[in-house]
């Protein structure tokens, strides 16, 4: 009895210690968890999946959806649990899980922070494979939980909670090349609670396409005896300058770190389920950045040597094929020449002018469409469609197409070629009137296209063609015409001006002087009416200066009183006009109306005499 009491006391003490140690974990952990029992069944059996809500709050619960598993709610239960002396209401949802095929299934967590669960379904003895539902489509094969080890060169974090592996091509890359990249994050089940951000590449020399980081592939793997959840992102980056760059990936995570030594938590590990490990293992949360081992990436410039003339910057591995449709058409009808470029690489730089100029064909610029075969657009097919119009009937051959690209694997420029295509062009009924394309008879059904309704009809072809859509007045060749004409006229004008007759020059000068004299005489008359001698004599002198300067081949300013006195010694009136002009201006001498009339007459006579010469 004494021994039994002692054992019972130890048991009570152990339970008490467990409850006390579990208290902080319960306070920290999500109030919703899920269990599955048994974790391993045979096909034809069902497992019990229980979602428990430890609290009276309504946590958001998502019923998992797993391809190949059927979930059926069978019961809702409510109970009161006693934990560390505290009563906690709890509710549970019991779900029956029925597998439809053998395999290992990963059941995602019921809340965003819950860890996934694993259900292993064995095929019945003697069965070759898993039965498949007859009417439903084939389910996606579940991820395989296989044994393995940490990838070579990759290290776990110190607490063993996670690792990051960066997968890039093991070769030099080239400027402008789209480099596919794989970022794998391995997280030990129950240790990583959340992501604090998307994965990113360290360093400023790379541009990772963040739009491709939303949907990682998810799988589970047992690595070194521990269950790991693997998330794998597929993305791509490009480099814009050559050089050698360190490259690594970094993922910010929030992890649980146990606060007691590892050897003391061995009991927790015996439970096998990460959830129970966290319940009974006191832990704290910590934000960490998990980084992959750094790799050296060498980026090279594209070689200048051997670069084909039609190279547009495509880097990758490509193949091309072409066809033309229809192979029989009337002259003037449009044909569509199609070139398909398939492969992997930077399809944004895959470009082609296809056929530029072909004898007896009218070619138009091609249009391209791209269909990606992966989310990154690294693999796919780019289709170029070029409208062609044959101008003459008969059996004709379209030349082979070519496409040049740089193959980073062989490190050489490559040029892919297609085969020449044969078409038969029949004479058009409208040949006599149509020189331009009669495109209405396109192979595409016009009735099926709503754009076809309501269009104005085609025009009869014009015979006037232009070589460029740029207006001629902006073309240098055309601008030479007005430039030369302008030069010719300018030269002609200068020559004519130089050779013009002296008599005409005199006539022109006299005409100018005459006009000026008329204006000055009118000014004199107005001054006489106003009784303003200063203005009168200044105008009179100016008129005489203009007239005499023309005769004496002088500038009007050079015709002064002294010059007049020297040259016109016999004409006292004119000399006096010059003297009175100065005198009236500076002395303000008063002249009566009789004086004005006299001087007006004298000036008119002199001007008339000068004009008569």
């Amino acid at each position: 009895m004494s021994k039994n009491r002692t054992q019972g006391g130890w048991l009570i003490a152990l339970v008490g210690v467990l409850l006390v140690s579990a208290a902080p974990a319960i306070a920290d952990d999500p109030l919703v968890y899920a269990t599955i029992q048994p974790a391993q069944i045979t096909l034809g059996e069902s497992a019990r999946f229980t979602i428990t809500n430890l609290g009276d709050g309504a946590a958001p619960i998502t019923m998992p959806v797993v391809s190949g598993l059927q979930f059926e709610i069978v019961a809702h239960t409510h109970q009161i649990e006693l934990i560390n002396g505290t009563t906690l209401p709890s509710s549970s949802i019991v779900v029956r899980v029925t597998p439809q095929m053998a395999g290992i299934f990963s059941i995602p967590g019921v809340t965003p922070k819950s860890p996934p669960l694993v259900l292993q379904v064995n095929a019945p003895p003697g069965s070759a494979g898993a039965p498949r539902p007859s009417k439903s489509p084939a389910p996606i094969p579940p991820p395989i939980l296989a044994g393995g080890s940490i990838p070579k060169g990759v290290h776990l974090t110190e607490d063993g909670s996670a690792y990051v592996r960066l997968g890039v091509p093991k070769r030099e890359v080239y400027v402008g090349e789209i480099v596919p990249v794989e970022i794998e994050v391995g997280m030990r089940s129950g240790f990583v609670t959340q992501f604090n951000g998307p994965p990113k590449l360290t360093g400023d020399d790379f541009t990772l396409n963040n739009s491709l980081l939303r949907e990682p592939e998810r799988s589970e793997r047992v690595i070194d005896g521990q269950a790991f959840v693997l998330l794998t992102w597929h993305s791509a980056f490009s480099v814009v300058k050559p050089g050698s760059f360190p490259l690594s990936a970094e993922v910010p995570l929030r992890v649980k770190i146990r606060t007691q030594p590892r050897q003391e938590s061995a009991l927790d590990d015996k439970f096998g389920d990460p959830f129970w490990q966290n319940i009974f293992g006191p832990s704290v949360r910590k934000d960490i950045n998990v980084e992959s081992p750094s790799q050296e990436l060498k980026v090279l410039e594209l070689p200048a040597e051997g670069r084909p003339a039609d190279f547009h910057g495509a880097i990758g591995t490509f193949a091309i094929e072409s066809d033309v449709s229809p192979v029989k058409a009337d002259a003037g009808d449009p044909l569509t020449l199609t070139m398909r470029v398939v492969g992997s690489g930077n399809f944004d730089r895959v470009d082609s002018t296809m056929l530029d100029h072909v004898e007896q064909w009218k070619t138009y610029p091609p249009k391209s469409t791209f269909k990606a075969n992966d989310p990154m657009g690294h693999k796919g097919e780019k289709v170029f469609e070029q409208p062609l119009i044959a101008s003459k009937p008969g059996a004709q051959t379209l030349p082979a197409l070519s496409f040049s690209y740089f193959d980073p694997n062989t490190r050489r420029y490559q040029t892919a070629h297609t085969s020449p295509l044969s078409v038969t062009i029949s004479p058009s009924l409208a040949d006599s009137t149509l020189a331009a394309p009669q495109l209405a008879a396109s192979a595409v059904s016009a009735a099926a296209n709503k754009l076809a309704d309501g269009l104005k009809p085609d025009h009869a072809a014009a015979e006037s063609f232009v070589s460029s859509l740029t207006p001629p007045y902006l073309q240098s060749r055309f601008l030479a015409i007005p430039s030369l004409l302008a030069l010719a006229f300018a030269g002609g004008w200068a020559g004519v001006r130089r050779r013009s007759h002296p008599a005409e020059r005199v006539f022109a000068r006299n005409r100018t002087a005459s006009k000026m004299n008329q204006r000055l005489l009118a000014q004199m008359e107005a001054a006489a009416r106003d009784g303003n001698p200063a203005v009168f004599f200044i105008a009179a002198r100016a008129a005489l200066q203009q007239s005499l300067a023309a005769r004496w081949q002088l500038a009007p300013d050079e015709v002064t009183a002294a010059e007049v006195q020297a040259r016109l010694s016999g004409d006292d009136d004119i000399q006096q006009v010059f003297a009175l002009a100065d005198e009236s201006k500076y002395s303000g001498r008063d002249l009566n109306s009789t004086d004005f009339a006299r001087w007006m007459r004298a000036v008119r006579q002199r001007l008339a005499a000068e004009q008569a010469r």
């Binding site: 402008g176 789209i178 541009t207 963040n210 490009s238 814009v240 910057g313 944004d348 730089r349 895959v350 470009d351 138009y364 249009k367 391209s368 409208p387 331009a436 394309p437 009669q438 495109l439 209405a440 396109s442 595409v444 016009a446 296209n449 709503k450 754009l451 309501g454 269009l455 104005k456 009809p457 085609d458 025009h459 072809a461 014009a462 006037s464 063609f465 232009v466 070589s467 859509l469 740029t470 207006p471 001629p472 007045y473 902006l474 060749r477 055309f478 015409i481 007005p482 030369l484 004409l485 302008a486 010719a488 006229f489 002609g492 004008w493 004519v496 013009s500 005409e504 006539f507 022109a508």
Partner: protein, 220 residues
Amino acid sequence: MKNCAQLAALAAVSLALIAAPVHAEPAPGFSAAGLYNLANAYARQGKPGMAVLNYERASLLSPNDPDIDANLSYVRAAVHLPAPSRSTFDRMVRIASPYALSWIGVIGLVIVGVSVLAAQLASRRRWFHRLGMLFGISMLSLPLANGIALWPILQEGVVITGATPVRVSPVPMGDPLFVLPEAETVKIAVEHEGFLLIQTGAGRTGWASRSNVAPVVPRK
């Protein structure tokens, strides 16, 4: 008068020498009717981008063709894009094709030159020479005004593929800013490494791949 005759002969010879290669193009390139019919064919094939592009090109050669304007408006309306609007100035200065206006300008230049020379040689009837100069300058100003009206169109491009991504930088993996609908007309600012810096009518800018946007006037 002898000088006049010599100058006229010189001008005629120069004109002939320069104009000869212009008309001696071995292969015809574009015609308004051909582009219009091609645009119609694209429209019937359900390719509004290429249709609008070729209507715009046809409109450059034949600016007053009502069928081109009607079909251009129709196709744009079918893809829920606003119809193009022309200002009064635009309508006035696009009374003829740029080709016709270019030669009108050359004729105007000849009239101005001859008037100036005639005024220099003969001093009588100056009003007649001035009238000639005024007329010539008016003709000369037509291609100038046409160039002012056409200049924005010459910088435009048309989106020829559906849902064209416009990126923040001219690199294939540049983050997308927005998506352009097919047949949208955009202004092309510069070209760089196979990408075009474009500006939409709403003022948004970004880089689009050259294979997705075709300039209205093909660039060499």
